[in-house]
């Protein structure tokens, strides 16, 4: 293809990518170094609130943003360098915790608590998704032809459900005297509260995420299984390879690029774990990095938002994803080069 033609085809999407991905990203990066805040003045305010039957009036000194002649709030923007990152990571407290050798102390800092769960969640669900996805693909591939359609349809269902809706469904199955909790209580003859400690919440989140993402891995692996060289498989059978050896030495090496691809997508998606935290209202016990960004960005009732810290948190989340992706990307790159 001529370069001009290529450029003409790529230009629109390139433009969109710059407009909707690159520019916002740069803007977030810049915002993480600056703080914009209103200028406050202290004034005496008398305010009256309804009582029953008479109103109650009190006078208090209160801080109010200053207004300019146009009636707009006077704001100032200042360069704060890495201060927002420091506010988030809290290096002093980390040092104190490390000096004390206390893991628990480190886990009282929101960022590190969120990082701990995010990494744990991402890394533990990855092998589960790949193994479960591959197992379903193999099972479907070996199923009777007439059964394949319905089985594929049913296996895909979890993937079709919107994540937050799926999460809420799990919540209602387990919360309080939810039907599954009641079932478990009856089975184990003891009282169970799934939402009152961290490990049960994390367990539900892991199960939910694997249930939700495995169909994606399954679809990809199932497509890959259709391209396995039948001659190689047959010769393996003639050579006396059993089922396990055929999987180990023929099928898995053939699917390796797909396994890397799924790992790549899963790491990217999973590091941004968010819906589970919201759906299970788990923030007393478990939080994630993406939830932290969201929480900083949500206005409180006085209208305050920690935009700088949220930007810093978003940047750190991105850095985390990039670090996680180095390994699979390098592998893909090596294979890509090797194939030429």
């Amino acid at each position: 293809m001529k370069f001009r033609t290529f450029a003409a085809f790529v230009a629109p999407s390139l433009f969109m990518m710059i407009l909707f991905i690159a520019v916002p990203l740069v803007s977030v990066l810049i915002q993480s170094f600056y703080v914009t805040q209103p200028v406050y003045e202290r004034i005496e305010v008398e305010s009256c609130t309804p009582g029953f039957p008479q109103p109650v009036c009190t006078t208090r000194t209160s801080s109010r943003p200053m207004l300019d002649e146009g009636g707009d709030v006077v704001t100032q923007t200042q360069f704060v360098g890495l201060q927002s990152y420091r506010n988030l990571i809290q290096p002093d407290r980390v040092r104190a915790a490390l000096a004390a050798g206390s893991w628990d102390q480190l886990m009282t800092i929101d960022f590190w608590r969120a990082l701990r769960f995010t990494l744990f969640f991402t890394l533990i669900t990855l092998p589960m998704v790949i193994v479960l996805g591959l197992s379903i693909a193999l099972a479907v591939n070996n199923a009777v032809h007439s059964l394949r359609g319905p089985v594929i349809f049913i296996s895909l269902l979890p993937f079709i459900i919107t994540p937050i809706i799926g999460g809420l469904s799990i919540r209602w199955l387990f919360i309080g005297d939810g039907i599954l909790t009641s079932g478990l209580e009856w089975l184990l003859a003891r009282n169970i509260s799934m939402f009152s400690q961290a490990w049960t919440l994390e367990l539900m989140m892991i199960i939910y995420r694997v249930w939700h993402v495995a169909p994606f891995a399954f679809v990809i692996f199932y497509a890959g299984l259709q391209t396995v060289n039948q001659d190689t498989l047959e010769s393996a059978i003639i050579d006396g390879a059993n089922r396990w050896e055929r999987l180990r030495y023929v099928i898995v090496p053939h699917l390796m690029p797909l396994i890397i691809f799924i790992a790549l997508i899963h790491l990217m998606d999973c590091y941004r774990v968010f819906e589970e935290i919201i759906a299970f209202s788990s923030q007393s016990y478990v939080i994630s990095l993406q939830w932290l960004t969201y929480d900083l960005l949500s206005p409180d009732q006085a209208g305050n938002r920690a935009i700088s810290r949220a930007s810093a948190s978003a940047m750190l989340t991105m850095v985390g994803i990039v670090i996680l992706l180095i390994w699979p990307l390098r592998r893909t790159w090596r294979e890509h080069k090797g194939s030429h």
Partner: protein, 405 residues
């Protein structure tokens, strides 16, 4: 707060042609953005009778309102606010003083409805809300327990109820992590005589009152459903309705539903009393809230007049008489019901409970408390560390917001 009180989802109501119920015919197009709960629906319906009126009752109004009112022209002429959510509108000066309009059209408003901030009338209140002690009259009578007036008595009663096994859990509490849990701390902290911040906006919660408030919260959790960190107002209301709990310090606006016919299994058994005190001679451990209406600044005076006339019409005695049970109305004509007893006792208590302060510092501290108190309740930190960390979190966000240097 409104979020916790609100019904699910957004409800849009479109005004129909003026009917006989409205005293005049509204000619100017007016719209309202407010929270979605029963009382707002009643007011919006009454306003719609005058014609040319559109109301948007939305659970997420709090996020939308500051930006919608800052626009020129604003997206709504009328806003529904509470003392918690009026803060950004006052600070950004996007709502107008109503003194001249009150002088012209507001003869029938009670003085109690006029919300004065800095000497000027900035909002017209329609109802008050507070937390009160809601309890199962039958359970307390059966066990021969007097209605508790302090938290120590509540805990003693809870223990007796637990021994007797009368219900699944003696207490309920809106201790969902985040906003609800933050408010529970604030209620108890005020009950112990604490001050959230000092004159210079520096935090002042790491003290005896703070520790006592946390300890009381922890003592309460022993009698709650262990899954209390997901327990919001709706959850507690359902616990009452299903007869699972016997007592809770709970929103007055939820009392009706807790014993409502058709929804509840304990119809007529729910009673209310003043919010318990943290110390015997202190104020009720609760905060007082109002809901009311404000008018946008960036609109013409004609529009503002039309909007104000709608407020007067929407908050008239007819509306209140038709919707008497929907709220504790401040509007003349309201007849307190049996279930309003607790709220009115709370409001009249001496020393009085504090009104929830509409300040920037309060917004920041409420968030820091909502995120921080659970560390003590789950046992991750001791009380002093928890409070010191909450103060740190507050200072960090107050610096970022420019409130302290």
């Amino acid at each position: 707060m409104l979020k916790t009180l609100a019904l699910a989802g957004a409800v849009a109501l479109t005004g129909t042609a003026a009917s006989a119920a409205c005293a005049y015919d509204n000619k100017t197009q007016i719209s309202l953005l407010a929270a979605a709960f029963e009382a707002w629906k009643a007011v919006a319906d009454a306003m719609a009778e005058c014609g040319n009126f559109k109301a948007e009752l939305d659970q997420e109004f709090r996020t939308k309102q500051p930006a919608a009112f800052a626009a020129k022209p604003p997206l709504y002429q009328l806003g529904g606010v509470s003392n918690g959510t009026i803060t950004p509108l006052i600070n950004d000066a996007t709502i107008r003083p109503l003194d001249d309009l009150v002088a012209k059209y507001g003869q029938d408003l009670s003085p109690n409805q006029l919300i004065r901030i800095d000497g000027k009338i900035m909002a017209i209140a329609m109802m008050v809300n507070t937390q009160h002690l809601q309890y199962r009259g039958d359970v307390l009578t059966d066990l021969d327990i007097a209605v508790p007036g302090t938290w120590d008595e509540v805990l003693a009663a809870a223990d007796a109820i637990k021994q007797a096994g009368a219900v699944d859990y003696p207490l309920g509490a809106t201790m969902k992590s985040g906003w609800d849990q933050g408010l529970d701390f604030i209620n108890l902290f005020y009950g112990h005589g604490g001050e959230i911040v000092d004159e210079a906006n520096q935090p002042t919660i790491n003290n005896e009152a703070g520790v006592k408030a946390l300890e009381t919260m922890k003592a309460i959790t022993a009698y709650l459903d262990p899954e209390y960190t997901v327990s919001d107002s709706t959850y507690v209301q359902q616990q009452f309705q299903q007869g699972k709990i016997a007592m809770a310090n709970f929103w007055a606006s939820r009392a009706g539903a807790s014993g409502a016919e058709g929804e509840s299994q304990v119809v007529g058994l729910v009673e209310t009393a003043a919010a318990p005190r943290a110390v015997p001679d202190g104020p009720p451990a609760t905060t007082i809230w109002w809901d009311g209406l404000v008018i946008a600044k960036n609109i013409s005076d004609e529009e503002a007049e039309a909007a104000f006339q709608l407020i007067v019409e929407g908050l008239d005695t007819d509306m209140v008489q038709a919707n008497n049970d929907a709220a504790i109305w401040l509007v003349p004509g309201y007849e307190p019901t049996r279930l309003a007893k607790g709220a009115i006792e709370t409001l009249n208590a001496q020393p009085p409970a504090r009104a929830y302060p509409s300040t920037v510092a309060m917004g920041l501290m409420h968030t820091a408390l909502g995120n921080g108190t659970s560390d003590y309740l789950t046992g991750a930190k001791d009380a002093e560390t928890t409070l010191a960390d909450i103060e740190d979190a507050y200072v960090t966000s107050a610096r970022e917001a420019g409130l302290i240097q």
